[in-house]
Structures are given as C-alpha cells and as structure tokens.
Amino acid sequence: MNPGSMSSRTEVDQAHIRALVTSGKRKQLLFAIAGLTCTMIALLTLLAAFLQLLIDGLPRLSWDFLTNFPSRHATQAGILSAWVGSAMVMVVTMLAAVPVGVGAAVYLEEYAPRNWLTDLIEINVTNLAGVPSIVYGLLALGLFVYQFGFGESVLSAGLTLALLILPIIIVSTREALRTIPGNIREGAYAMGATRWQMVSNHLLPYSTGGILTGVILGMAEAIGQTAPIICIGALTFIAFLPDSPFGGSPPFINFSWLFSEFTVLPIQMYNWVSRPDKAFQLNAAAAGVILLAMTLLMNGLAIYIRYTVRKKIKW
C-alpha cells in the first residue's frame, strides 16, 4: 500500500467512508436477524411436530409392537406386516430404479447426441420430479396392476415407487458424472480407452458417492409415499407375511413374495390415525417414530457417504 495516498486523503473522506461502513454493517445485522427468525420459525415448527410424535409414540414402542400383526385391540396391535411390506417394496424399488436410473443418466450424459430429441427428454426427466405422486399411482394402476397383470402386489408397488424416484436418481447421477473433470476423461481416452471402458473404469467408480447419495435420498422419499400405494390397492389390514424370499429347499430363493398382497408403514399409520379410538392414534405415532427413524437413518447414511467420498476424491 502506498502511504502517500493514505495521508493525502482528507478528514471528510474518511468520515464519509466510516459512515458508509457503519450503515452497511447495520443493514447486515438487520438481515441476519430477519434470516435467523425465518430459520427459527421453520425449525421450531418442525421440532414441535417431531417432539409431539415422540411423546405420543415412544411409550408404545416395544419389541412386541415390531413383531405383532395389526389387531382390533390397540394395545396388542403391531406393525410386523407393515415394516416387512415396506422393506420388500423398497428392495424391489431399489433393484428396479438403480440400474434403470443410472443407465439412463450415463446414456444421456455420455452417449446421447446433443439434439432436440435429447433436449426434450432432458426437460421431461427434470419435470418428472415435480409430477404429483398420485399421478404415478394412477399410471401404475393401469400399467402394472391391470395391463401387466402384476395385481395389487409388492411388485406393482415397488415398480411404482421406482418410477417415482427415477428422476431423483437420474438427476443426481448426471450431476455426479458432470463433476468429473474433462481432463480426466481426456486422460483416459488418450490411453486408448473405449467409451465403455471410460464409463466402467472411470465414470461409474468416481461418481459412486454421488450416485449412492441420490439412491438413498430417493429411497427415503419412496418409503414415506402413501398416495400411489393406496392407488394401486395396498391393503390396510394384513395379518400375514408374504412368503419368505429365501426358501429351505433348492434353489433356496423364490419369487412368490413379489406377487403377494401387502401393506406398508405409512398406510398402516393412515389406517390407525383415521380411527376414533385414541389408543390407535398412539399406535400411529409409534409407527411414525419408526418411519421417521428409518428416513433419518437413510439421510444420515447419504450425508456420511457424500462426506467420506468427498474427502477421498478432490478434483
């Protein structure tokens, strides 16, 4: 800094600058307070709802609650069929959505020529994320339940939710692919890699963190879905479990569970909430705690993966 220019600055100038800075600081403080208030309103509301759920639900949580079927007697009712149903539907959702979503993203990002058709597909994929979930339910009712004849089954539900979270997976996979710098791609091609080697040796391994994050966020979204599942005809009262996917005799694995009737946690909750008996409302709260815990767990996992992968690969 040139000291000459400092000393030549007049007193008036300095006072003016000081006034500017003070007023700027005041505005900054005002904005900070306003921002904090907004944040607190959102946070506190959420916290209150969460606490209410915990207060109502926690006393009802027990081992029996997890291992009992629903019942007419609120105190004996449990969520066994609901959480097993949720888990099975999630498995189908994941098996269907991950390969299709990742495949579509890789195609759009790496293979598709840039033209109006891919632009159109692109706009559609991003907008699909905003389609109300009930619309997916209607589509699935016609397509999976009747057209394909899958019935009101675990398979239909899983595929419906897979459709629903496909945009999330596609978008997050594409974002992950885009963060891989061009000079890494050029480096791989310069070594003589084919496009497929590029995808399988580089792009997919380097974007695993981003893809997994998207998958888990999608699953967290899917597990709480109620409307589309009701649409395709999930039952609200189920006192049996689908057949186990793992059989006792060769080939030790069977698929009849896919076509089983089922219920899922949010529907069980919905069913209980709509009863007048207060005891059932507490059951609903308890099931809500479980559902919330599962969602938080998945989100936590997503954050953990993103964090560890980001620490490992810095472009």
Partner: protein
C-alpha cells in the same frame, strides 16, 4: 532440408555424430476445422524419429490443435473435421483416415497434458491403466512394466514404497511424472506433450525437461511450449506457427540462431507476442 557440415551442437551441449534423421511421421497439407473455423492451414512437416520436435508460437495459433490431431483427440468432440494426412511410419498409415479407428491411433501415440491429470486411483493403477486397457491381466507382467515405466519417468525411487497410495497425494511435479510414466508404460511410438510444465514450479520443470531429453532415445517426442528457453533446451527441431499456419520449420539451432523468416526472428527475440 537438413545438410550438416560440422558436427552440430545438440541441446544440452553434447556433441553427437551426425545421423541423417529418419521420419517417424509425415504431416501432409493438414487443415483442421472447428465448425467453420479453420484452425490449421495447410501444415506439412516431418516428425523425426527419436528426436524432439517443439511447437512454438503465440497463444491461439493452433499448437494444441495441431498436437491433438496426432492422437485424434478432436474425434471426441462434435463438429470437428480433419483434412489432409498424417502418415505414420513404418507402416505408412494415414492416421487421420476415416477408417482408421482413433482408439488404435491412441494405442500407438501417447499424450501428456498441460495440467497433471492422474486418475483418482492408486499410483500403481495409474501406471498400469494403459496395460489393462490393452488386455494385460498377468500380475507379474504388470508389476514389471509399472516399475520400468516409473523408472523411465524418474519417479521410481520416490514412490516405490507407496505404490498403493492415491495418486492425488503426490506433488504437482510428481503427478506430471506419473502421467509421463502412465504414457510410457505402453511403449508409445510418439509421445505428445502439451505445455507439460506450465503448471509446475521451476525445479519440477527442470526435472521434466531433463526427463524429456532422456526419453528421446526411446520415443519420438512432439512438445508444445510457450517457453522459448525450454524449446531451445529440449528440442532438436522447432516449428514456429502463427495463426494456424506453419511459418518456419528447421533445426532448433537454426531457428534460434539464424531463422530464415523475419517473423520467426521477431517472435524468438521477443519483439512480438
């Protein structure tokens, strides 16, 4: 073009016997287009075997574009077009020909980029990558080749105990030598360097320059550089380009001591660009 009377002073000061240079590649009337933009205009030069050819010229004159024709890098992007031939010896194949697979070309001609670009894999896997792409799975062969390449890139002693570490942990200069090792591992016939030291400090730069001078005995080298001293230090032949045209191509000595064209002289002496 090259007639020698007295023994020439080679870069580095060593005096070597005069051997008439043999062409490893011949560029014939090469034009290159980015869409409508004609970035290279009728360039013809030989690339001499086991010698270093430097490409110099002001920014935007097409040095990178020219270099990237040699490994068909432009094929990765739409709306690019080659016109002309680059004939690779000894098999006399025009590597720009439509029916020549760019992957085949890249298997023969390696490249080192301006910014070190190791893969986010281990040091070993980085060097082994080209071999894996070529279908080599045998662990012993891979190990031998990786060591040989790392030695060739003067990096072995620094990394021999940490081959399993992530390549990103290396310093910038080490990363660039790793990229050279990666390219060397597959025994390329020509190695392309696009301003390989512009992202490095002077000490790392010196070690890369030394390396390039040594590599000459194994591989033909084509290097783009912004640094006039670097061209003078490492190269045997120099091509001066301006606005997509080749202005002058000659022995590096001649280019730097008594260039035939005024334009070249102005650029070399810094009266230009």
């Amino acid at each position: 073009m090259v007639t020698e009377t007295s023994s020439p002073v080679f870069p580095g000061g060593a005096t070597e016997p005069v051997v008439p240079p043999v062409a490893k590649a011949q560029v014939h009337d090469l034009n290159f287009f980015y869409g409508e933009l004609r970035a290279l205009k009728g360039i013809s030069i030989p690339i001499y075997k086991h010698l270093v050819t430097a490409l110099i010229g002001p920014s935007g004159c097409g040095k990178s574009t020219f270099l990237r024709c040699f490994n068909r890098m432009h094929d990765l992007y739409p709306n690019t077009r080659y016109d002309g031939r680059i004939v690779l010896m000894p098999d006399n194949v025009n590597i720009l020909h439509r029916e020549v697979d760019p992957i085949e070309v890249r298997m023969r001609i390696g490249m080192v980029f301006q910014k070190p670009n190791p893969f986010p894999k281990s040091i070993f896997e980085n060097v082994a990558y080209g071999l894996r792409v070529r279908g080599i799975r045998n662990r012993a062969v891979l190990t031998d080749k990786v060591e040989e390449a790392l030695r060739g890139a003067a990096l072995w002693d620094e990394v021999k105990d940490r081959l399993a570490e992530l390549a990103f942990n290396l310093s910038g200069g080490q990363q660039q030598r790793l990229c050279i090792a990666r390219a060397l591992a597959t025994d390329p016939e020509i190695l392309l360097f696009d301003e390989p030291t512009s992202a490095l400090d002077p000490i790392a730069t010196a070690s890369i320059e030394e390396l390039i001078a040594d590599l000459r005995s194994k591989v033909t080298i084509l290097i783009v550089t912004h640094n006039m001293q670097q061209a003078a230090r490492v190269s045997d032949y120099t091509a001066y380009m301006y606005l997509g045209e080749l202005i002058e191509f000659d022995r590096t000595q001649t280019i730097f001591v008594k260039p035939k064209k005024k334009q070249t002289e102005d650029y070399i002496t810094g009266r230009f660009g």
